[in-house]
Symmetry: C6
Subunit: 242 residues, 6 copies
């Protein structure tokens, strides 16, 4: 059975890589699903280091053949050898989950306008091998483009989109998460606070009574109850006095 | 009799393709109207896959000669053979509905400034054959261009424009739909919430008591009743106390 | 006696062409004033079609020599033959009204910075022949340029400017019309709602109690009465309690 | 004695030319001060026409040697002959007032960065001959540059700056005027409404209880009295209840 | 002892030159400190004229060897002769205060990226000779860059920064002044109104109860007292009623 | 044990250099940790001068071999000699803390897109020698990019990010500080006021009851208590009256 493709989109510093790592580590430790982390980063050491700060020993998971951090160039992955490169790893550990970090890096190496096609090819490569792909997209957090999660047509390729954002709430810098899309299900549309704790992502209760969360600087809304009672209270007063 | 041309405009991820597919599937299953889906997408498989997630078996409809997914290049459609290409399909299944996905793809292949003329040519090609054309336009969802549904002059070519948008309501990411134009009728101008359910589009009640829905981050408005009762209540108080 | 020059400015889809057509049709049917519609559109058929949807049979009016749809290139109109071209038509039907659709098209064909001069030449050509010219200008509806109806100096050439805009009111997409300029009269400055009905333009009551209509996403204002009564009510309370 | 230099700055359609004409006509008819109107406009006829609509017969004033409309190119005025050109006219009618319409036109003909120097030269040329110069500057009315009346350093050259703006008040498009600068006096800083009536400019009462007039889309402010009484009223209540 | 370097930053027309002149004139008349005004302006006459309107006779002060208006080109000041040029003047009148009008002019003559270094060189040249330098910077008053007083790194070079701004308060165009920086002291951070009177700068009371002064179009804030009493008042009511 | 890498990000004039200096001075005087200040500034004297105004004698600390101000070019640091240059200093004073002032300077000297890699190399160079690196980043304070602390991917390289901002509070220009990231700990997310006193940074209480602090022009929020009591108060009234 084909598995879902997920996209994590978010601004710099919102924890996309951490969420992606946790997705793989959870797969391994809780569901017995081996994983591949394909990165075009020039600094793979930092990934091991980041994982360590959450108590995730990636080296150990690699030695146990449950994980592979594939640090390659986008060029190599896109070339004819790219598939082989992954296929070799896929044969070795039989992964069920794969992270591509990130589409923005990939974009730099494909001819202009071909990112969708290449992304589709990679997603299908994974899906048809029984692997759930998760792709990372670093979106800009400017207020007037806050809903443009991805460039045109990218959202159509994935089954699920999780958006991460900074929001200022009660004079604090909090982080918000919202599912923008989940194919084939009536998903939760509420923006929720999350924290990156020493143990990884911790998603908490939905925000309530705020307007403009997507702008990053929301304000408290008048509750509907208050708005209604206002109208009724003074509507009654009006009749009493007349 | 000539049929109406419809435009679906909206940002990425708002479900334009799903709405267009449902338009064709409904035509076939409810009204016995065969349909063509003309796409310049390089990934037609994804369309079948997307349809499946809503329970629409496009392959089966194609086998029954009620549907054709025509996956062509914009170049081909625009060339002298393009008409023939469609005409062949039109002869085969006698369609009454046609989707063009999308004008943005088409735009890349026509000389600068010729999009309107080509769109007109295609729309007329369909209309004069008794086919209702529906064109898809991916609009940018930036706040300061939120009303510019299409580039100059495009809106004049179609009889009906449906705009799809993300809006943040009650700390949730909802979707809104509004009919911007419907030629020859006193159409509903209210912004309505819609959801993409496992069974397709589900349009629900109009939004009420919100201001700035078109910006994507609306806020609750003071109701007129409240505003009036306020004035009256204190107006009365004022007289009582003096 | 010289007649006034009118400019209709507005965003895409606000009905500029419909208003211009109605101006001519009304001239013919109500005031017995023949009219010319000069268009640089490449798709004149759409104009006949659009008019038909409002019940205006332009072909019939042309046959009765009360109307001419002059579909020319801007180049031709601007050249030395352009005047002759119009003059021939002017001789034939003795028009009192003329529409130029649109200045934006004209702008593409005149050397940079000459649009004002050419527009002036055309307006004077009409006025000195006893014809009221009406020019169409497609303005951008971005919030921060909402008052810049026209490029520099254009507004000075015309006697009257009507601006058309989309505005979101009570969670609906309505249309607003405002007279920005009317030379030699104390004109109505209120923004009014209008609708494009099956019978053409229908201008209704002015908006009241809104702020920011020109931004397209207005909000209800506190009424002056309410603001005053507030001050008075609590001012009174204050004294009562002390 | 040297006379003051005035700048009229404002967006398109705010009536800068009308105000400048009225300045000259008033000078002639009320104070017996002849005037020159120097325009770089290619359409001087429109100035006579515009004046006529206010009942000002410029041709007659010219015949009486009380006015000269000098329609020249900026090139000519800036060249060595330019001074002579004006000086000849100055000798003929001994003007006390002079309008330069406009600095924007002048700017196109001077080397980049020299506008200030040329403007200064022209202003001094007038002032040292006992003539009050008035220069017109067409400013852009975008919300985020609303206070930048002129380009850098221009405001320093003139003794008085009058800014004209469109403002939306009570769902109407009104016009506002504010004195940004008046050298050597404690001038009125209030924004005032003005209208262009069949008899010229009519400045009325200052706006009150509005915030954001300079953005063009102001909103009513809570009055200070209301704000204070609010605090007091509930402050009293608080004590009563405790 | 080394003296402090001051920067006056502000938009066009806010009175930077007037404040700088007053700084020198006050130094001379109240503290017996001679001053130099270094200007790259091509129109030094205007400076004398501007000063006269405030009752400051710069010519007389120059004759008394208490002031020098050094009108030079930025090129000359920056070259090897520049130091000499100033040093000659410094020897003659032994100044304690020096104004550089302006860094924006200077910026045009230094290689890109060298402005900081040249500014530093000039500031140190003055400081080490016991002269307090004051530099003028014309900042743009756009709302989204309102806090960017200077380009990167400039603020680090000076000991004190005074920012001048237009603000719309109570439907009037007022001017606001705020000290952005004062090295080594706990300075006043309040925005204060100032006026340019016939006698020079007049700084008055701080603004109170406004939000968004730095945007130029502030709005009245709810006072803290009101906000608190509101909560308390209704909090009490709530308990009473339950 | 490896030490944490810190980034100080903030607009011009927010005190980034002062905070970095205090970090080193505190390390020396309170924790006995020698420090290096690597600056690409062309004006190192200003650093000594700035420190003096806070009572920090950098020359003395250098003589005591507890501090080195390394004033180098970015080119030199990035070249093969760069490491040696630092290593020599590292050998001499055995530092535990190092400041890099600033990444913006560094960015000018590395090929486009290599800043991350070079920054990583420098950070690791320090960390692996037991030195805590602190890097300075001058961010733009425009409202719509207020959360984009750094360019893409930079935030991932550091363990802690401190953001400094100007905010207008109660009609005063205050400064705010917020920890955007602290790896491996549940850090304080509140925006706090800070002042630069004659003794250095002084961080005070968190802001409360403000919305939009990150925009720089916040407004007071309605307290939750008030919002709730409002609903309850009028909810009760409503039932009483009905």
């Amino acid at each position: 059975m084909e598995r879902d493709a997920v996209m994590i989109a978010g601004g710099a510093g919102t924890g996309k890589t951490t969420l992606a790592l946790e997705y793989l580590v959870n797969g391994i430790t809780r569901f017995g699903e081996p994983g591949i982390y394909v990165t075009f980063e020039q600094l793979p050491d930092q990934i091991y280091r980041d994982a360590e700060s959450f108590g995730w020993n990636l080296h150990k998971l690699e030695e146990e053949n449950k994980l592979r951090i594939v640090c390659t160039s986008a060029n190599l992955l896109l070339g004819s050898d790219g598939g082989e490169l992954l296929d070799q790893t896929i044969k070795e550990i039989q992964p069920r989950r794969m992270v591509i970090d990130s589409l923005n890096h990939l974009e730099m190496y494909v001819p202009h306008g071909d990112l969708r096609q290449e992304t589709y090819r990679i997603l299908m490569h994974a899906k048809t091998r029984g692997i759930s792909p998760l792709v990372i997209w670093e979106a800009q957090q400017s207020s007037d483009r806050s809903f443009t999660v991805t460039e045109g047509g990218m959202s159509f390729l994935v089954d699920c989109i999780v958006l991460l954002k900074f929001v200022e709430i009660e004079s604090s810098m909090k982080k918000a998460l919202v599912i923008m899309k989940m194919r084939g299900s009536d998903h939760d549309k509420r923006l929720r606070e999350y924290e990156i704790t020493p143990h990884g992502f911790n998603v908490s209760a939905p925000f309530t009574h705020y307007e403009g969360l997507m702008t990053g600087t929301p304000h408290r809304s008048i509750t509907e109850e208050a708005a209604n009672s206002w109208a009724l209270a003074f509507g009654k007063n009006k009749q009493k006095h007349s």
